[in-house]
Symmetry: C2
Subunit: 207 residues, 2 copies
């Protein structure tokens, strides 16, 4: 509970930025959420845009960290993909607003681009994609570009969370029902992606 003022502001900014986006929230809103005066936000972080840059960078890190970690582990490729998708669903269950936030800022906020450099560095250092390519060459994996493999996995993980408001209204289901659909969808995503990437496997390994 004994949290420094600086940390309180960061946490409030994280919450407000993700919920409303950088353009649709005010400095005063962040200050109110942190329970203090507006001037303090600029006292600690110079400007709203500098604070945003800081927050966005850390969100980008969290957003891609789990993916990178799984791939630098020593598991067989099928397990890696399975665990990757499961981890992604676990992460998104806790932070369902992050994909929309990230994609939206990247598309609409020119400043957001700067927050990406350290993430690129992390991804490159991890050698994720090189390893994926290697596994693809030596194995029975379907031949397709790494970009598209990434798309395959991320589409089926992130979109279901991003589209929650749309899906709820189209199908007229409650929050709770949709959460159950999300849980069930995880298994479909694993089975479908594995089934497509490894067409020679008869039955997707279960459990």
């Amino acid at each position: 509970m004994n949290q420094s003022t600086e940390e309180k502001i960061k946490q409030a900014a994280l919450s407000v930025f993700i919920q409303k986006g950088s353009a649709n929230c005010t400095s005063r809103e962040i200050a109110r959420e942190a329970g203090m005066n507006v001037a303090l936000v600029n006292y600690y972080f110079r400007s709203k845009s500098k604070l945003f840059a800081l927050i966005f960078e850390s969100v980008m890190q969290d957003f891609l960290k789990s993916m990178v970690q799984v791939f630098s582990s020593e598991l067989p490729i099928r397990e890696k993909i399975k665990i990757l998708i499961e981890r992604e669903f676990e992460f998104l269950g806790k932070h369902p607003d992050i994909p929309n936030f990230v994609i939206n800022e990247l598309a609409r906020n020119p400043e957001a681009i700067h927050g990406i450099i350290p993430v690129l560095q992390m991804v490159n250092e991890s050698g994720v994609f090189d390893e994926a390519r290697k596994l693809q060459e030596q194995g029975d994996m379907r031949q397709m570009d790494i970009v598209q493999i990434t798309l395959l996995i991320m589409s089926n993980c992130q979109y279901p969370f991003m589209a929650q408001p749309l899906m709820k209204v189209i199908h007229g289901v409650s929050n709770e029902t949709y959460k159950e659909h999300l849980i069930a969808h995880k298994d479909h995503a694993v089975a479908m992606v594995l089934g497509y990437l490894f067409p020679n496997d008869q039955i997707t390994p279960h459990e």
Copy 2:
């Protein structure tokens, strides 16, 4: 070229709203894009939010129209899904910003909810989901909830367009290269979704 003032404003509003979102653009910006005075926007549409409601409603219509149309056709189920995905890619190729726009407004703009009622009506009247359920019962289609089938299809169509800025920066590819990836991805989406929904088919029917 002989376009009425009202239509000019609508068109400018459509463009600006989709590019920047309802919260991140100004009435003056819309007026400037339409080449006229700010006051005219309110003269024709009363307020910014009324104009937005109008635009959002029509975008929602376009957004879901093709999907509904395909399903009320008389094709066999596999063809329906294939054409549905291909149409979706065609539509998104022309309007890549719409999914992000729709999902973002629904998540962050309370007013956007109102724009959905006529769309719901359209979807209900079309009987899309009832027919999908019927096809599922009588055929060899994998048993899964309609919500999840919708998710399967929309995820693999819309996300690749929504994530374009993210993917470009992660994989370091140009606009043109990514466009090629999108084209190639369409076939993967068709094959993967059909392969998963109809597990008894040996090989996905090709062309």
